[in-house]
Every structure is written in C-alpha cells, then in structure tokens.
Amino acid sequence: MLLATSAGADMEEFEVQAEVAGAHAVVVVAGEIDAATAPLLKDKLLELVATGVERLVVDLRAVTFIESIGLGTLVAARKRLSVGDKNLCLVIGDDQANIRGPFEITRLDHVFPIHSTREAAIEDCLSEPAA
C-alpha cells in the first residue's frame, strides 16, 4: 500500500510516502521539515500508528533541512508506539551532517537508532515481528 501526502504550491518540494506491510511501515520523507511541513509529517505518522502500524523506519535521506519541530514530531510518533527500543528507526546518510547534527546536539540519537542505509534500518528494526 502506498500512501502519499504532498503539500501545496508554497511547499511543493515536501513529500511523505509510506509503504505499509502489516504492522511495519517504511516512511520516506523529502524536502524541508519545519513548522510549515512538520504537521503534514505528524498527521501521516499518527495515521499509520492509528491504523495498526507498530514499527516504523523513517527514511530522511531526501530531507534537506530539519528544524526542532521535526524532531518533536518524531518524538510524538515514537511515544505513541508500543514500548521497545527499535520501534522507530531513522535513515540518515553519512553526508547529511545538517540532518544528523540536530539529533546529536539534542541527544535524540540515543532515542532513535540511526542508520545510513534503508536496508540496515529495516534489518535492525523490522526484521523481527513487532511486539
């Protein structure tokens, strides 16, 4: 199943797509995550959780900018998933220092496992059945 959200003309570069398989989902985000776009991401993540998704991989490799409200959005989604260390993993490329940095500064890299490839994130977070 493919779910897509795209913003209006002012934010046409922002996009969220989700591929759902049972209780697992891979969410691919593209564009800038700030106060204008974070609500779209939050809606999509919470919608997935509401429909029964228990584990998420959020691929941020096509994200070019992230503000703290984007970090808060991921915290909000993580909170609504069942207890577990690997219920929400992130994919951030090794060359995306501007995306990885805010997670490191706020120490949220200790809350979200971060992988540099989608395959590694899926292997780490989605390879076992959800709790």
Binding site: S68, A76, P102
Partner: protein
C-alpha cells in the same frame, strides 16, 4: 551597501508571521552568509537552523496573542562577525522559563515534544542574546567569521576544473 564610514549598512527583511515564510528567511540569510562572508558550509547550516528556530519561535509568539504584525530580521556585519537579529511583537519570551528536559534514557523524555529550539540555537551559534520586553522579543545571533574571500579555497573545498588559487 556601505555607509559613509565604511560600515556595511544593515539589511532588513520583514516576513508575514506565518510558517510558510520561514523558508524565505533561511534562504536570504544563508545566501547573505555565503556571498558576503567567509564561513564554512557547515557553519552556514548552523546559522540557517538557528535563524529558522528563532523565526519559528517569533511566529508562534505572534500567533499566541493573535498579533498580525510581521517578524523583522535584521542582518548586520562587522570585521570579525555577522549578526542576525530576529524581532517579534509577541508578549515577550523569557528563555530562562523553559522547562529542562529529562535525560534521553528516561522514558519521560518522550513527553517533551517541544522546547528544543532554544537549546539548539545556543549550541549552534557563537553568541546568542534574548532580549524580552512587553513590546516583543529580540533574539541576537552572532557568528564570528571573516570577510568574503571570493577567490580563495574555503574550508578545503576543491575548486572546479580550470580554477586555481593564487600562489
């Protein structure tokens, strides 16, 4: 863009207090930083994020009290630094009133979705001052840097084929 005494004239940008205009503020500030100063790309990213966080806070301050006035950004320069001032007309914000977050190892940490912007700004820039008043809040962000060196190799970047540095 200089006054009679050689000091660069400040540049001002007013944006409507709506989140969709913060991207424009980021674009203008990062363009000014990269074209007018010698600042490594990662430091420009730091500046861009700090200004974005300050603008988002300013817009939220306006929305909270239903103020329709614009948010003002003022860019200014000196020999050894640049400064970006973000001014709002909200009710005045005291950064010392921010609750401290539990450690990331504490499950309670997940109850704090907001309040990361100010700590991020403090970490990213060389100096930041918050000046709250009844008329609004002014955030002054300072980054130390040199003037633009248009023909120099900056931060180890490889120049395109056909270009070379002097000497």
């Amino acid at each position: 863009m200089s006054s009679s005494n050689g000091t660069p004239t400040p540049i001002e940008l007013e944006i409507p207090a709506r989140p969709e205009y913060v991207g424009l503020a980021r674009l203008v500030v990062s363009s000014l930083a990269s074209s007018r100063r010698t600042l490594a790309d990662d430091r420009i990213d730091d500046l861009k994020l700090a200004v974005s966080e300050a603008c988002t806070n300013a817009i939220e301050a306006h929305v909270d009290v239903d103020v329709s006035e614009r948010v003002l950004l003022r860019w200014s320069e000196a020999d050894d630094h640049l400064q970006v001032q973000v001014e709002d007309r909200g009710p005045g914000f005291d950064p010392r009133s921010l609750p401290s977050h539990p450690p990331v190892t504490d499950p309670e940490r997940l109850n704090f979705e907001r309040g990361l912007g100010i700590p991020l700004i403090r970490s990213l820039v060389d100096r930041v001052e918050f000046d709250p008043s009844d008329a609004g809040t002014s955030v002054r962000i300072v980054m130390f840097c040199g003037p633009a060196e248009l023909d120099a190799e900056i931060d180890g970047e490889v120049l395109p084929p056909g270009f070379s540095t002097a000497g």
